[in-house]
Amino acid sequence: MSETGGVPEIVPEFVLPPPTGAYRRLNPTTKLLIALAEALIAFGVRGWSGPVVVLAIVLASGARAGVGARLVPFLLATIPLVASILLVNTFLYPGATDRIFVLGPLAPTWTGLVFAGQATLRVIAFAMSAAVLGLTTGPDELVADLERRGMGRRTAFVLSATVRSVPRVLERVREITEAQRARGLDTEGRIWRRVRGLVPLAGPLLFGALTDVEEQTMALEARGFSAPARRAVIRTFPDSTPQRALRLLLAAGTPLVLLVSVIGMLGFLP
């Protein structure tokens, strides 16, 4: 495995444009393990410490990778979930009696607010972690590296095709929506109207997807997908001894941290 990664000399250079920036240059599998560890610790370590530490690391990584500003849309996307977490837990936390104030039937509690605050931080830390991974690592890069490490061809294909099919599905939704609108379907306005408008979209979307899958299956067979041979590696990615050590540390250390947290040995942390 090359320390710098790349493609063999006989393969055109554009197949793997050199990554730029310190964080981006990390091996895709290293970045995946970092994101997984961050998510597990954010959700698995009790109290404020887990999500706060993870969020700090994620934001620092994002800034180092030069994607800080691009995290904002992902942060905004968490607002509906975060708002519901805050409202439900602050006002309806079961068994909490330490009321902040009472206003008619509304009685928010400090216990609920603290729990909601921690849950909010966990969600944001997870979202930011996934966003940093997504913004610094192409899905095809990640899959190519995992395949090189021995992941099965079919698993690699399913993973990669799933990620790359998202824009195509969204495009199809847009086309069907426009076609249905052209025939008088109301897909805007009040929520119940929008929900009702989804029903006529589901059929064409589902049947269209099934037809595509059938044709794609045949096209794959026609390209030798089921051949039992081992595929030649085209792309390799930067790797190094420190990164290998980091991956080992993450793989072994994350479950250990979770275990220590679960049995209460991190009780001294806020």
Binding site: D212, Q216, E221, R231
Partner: protein, 267 residues
């Protein structure tokens, strides 16, 4: 050396209807056989059967024999068939793997599946790109190509498997005029290379007139005419079989009805 169908009858799985009936056809290497017919005549089914995908991949019942250069397709595994006979469908989007970042890697997808060495993969990709004159597309993202470009990339991806025969199922039906022109030029280049035998199902008889050596007409699963392209495409019965004659033939007939003498070049 030919792709041959002998007394081929085919039924889809779960259906008793014979979609193809007692077909006898053969395509020589270096030859283009055009296939026309009305909707539901069995053209796409013929493509699946000729390429070996039916019944190998999609099931159904096949009577008769399909053989490629003398070797029966029955019993062959899909990846073995892929190297003998490539197939290109109507929709360029569904034929791309959807897993690659560049056109170069998309074309390399098939040869990689076969377990070829990197040197051979690189050589085949370069050959396919060059044959279709699409070298400039190599660094592009396959998901961001026009319909015509995507169809050419799909064709190059099939060609990279070096099949002796190609089955093209209405490859221009979802393309705009510019895309059709691009694809038509690529098919012409391919036929001039003389390296592969091509079965080309196509509604656009103008395109067939330019490309095909012979044309076969399918009607309700039966072969009702087969012969040199010029003769079959000028057959008086073509419209009754649900096929529009080429513009040249329609023009000549209109001129004849109107008593107008056309210049030799137009007729």
């Amino acid at each position: 050396m030919s792709l041959s169908l002998r007394s081929v009858t085919y039924r889809y799985a779960g259906s008793s209807r014979r979609v193809l009936r007692s077909l006898d056809l053969s395509i020589e290497r270096g030859e283009v056989l055009g296939v026309v017919g009305a909707n539901d005549a069995g053209k796409s089914t013929l493509c699946l059967v000729a390429a070996g995908l039916a019944p190998t991949t999609i099931g159904g019942r096949l009577d008769g024999e399909v053989a490629i250069d003398g070797a029966p397709s029955a019993g062959a595994r899909p990846h073995e068939l892929a190297q003998r006979c490539g197939v290109l469908f109507q929709n360029p989007v569904t034929q791309l793997s959807g897993t690659t970042a560049t056109v170069w890697e998309e074309i390399a997808f098939g040869p990689r599946n076969l377990g070829l060495a990197l040197e051979a993969i690189v050589e085949r990709v370069a050959w396919a790109l060059s044959l279709l004159n699409i070298d400039v597309l190599a660094p592009r993202d396959p998901a961001r190509l026009s319909g015509g470009q995507a169809q050419l990339v799909a064709l190059a991806s099939v060609l990279a498997l070096r099949p002796a025969y190609l089955v093209l199922d209405e490859p221009t039906s979802q393309l705009d005029p510019q895309g059709t022109q691009l694809a038509g030029e690529a098919f012409a280049r391919l036929t001039r290379s003389g390296e592969v035998g091509i079965l080309l199902v196509e509604h656009k008889t103008d395109l067939l007139e330019r490309l095909a050596d012979r044309v076969a007409v399918l009607a309700e699963g039966e072969l009702v005419a087969v012969g040199p392209a010029a003769g079959v495409l000028a057959d008086e019965r073509l419209e009754a079989w649900g096929v529009d004659p080429p513009a040249r033939v329609r023009l000549a007939r209109a001129a004849e009805r109107a008593g107008v003498q056309l210049p030799v070049s137009a007729a």
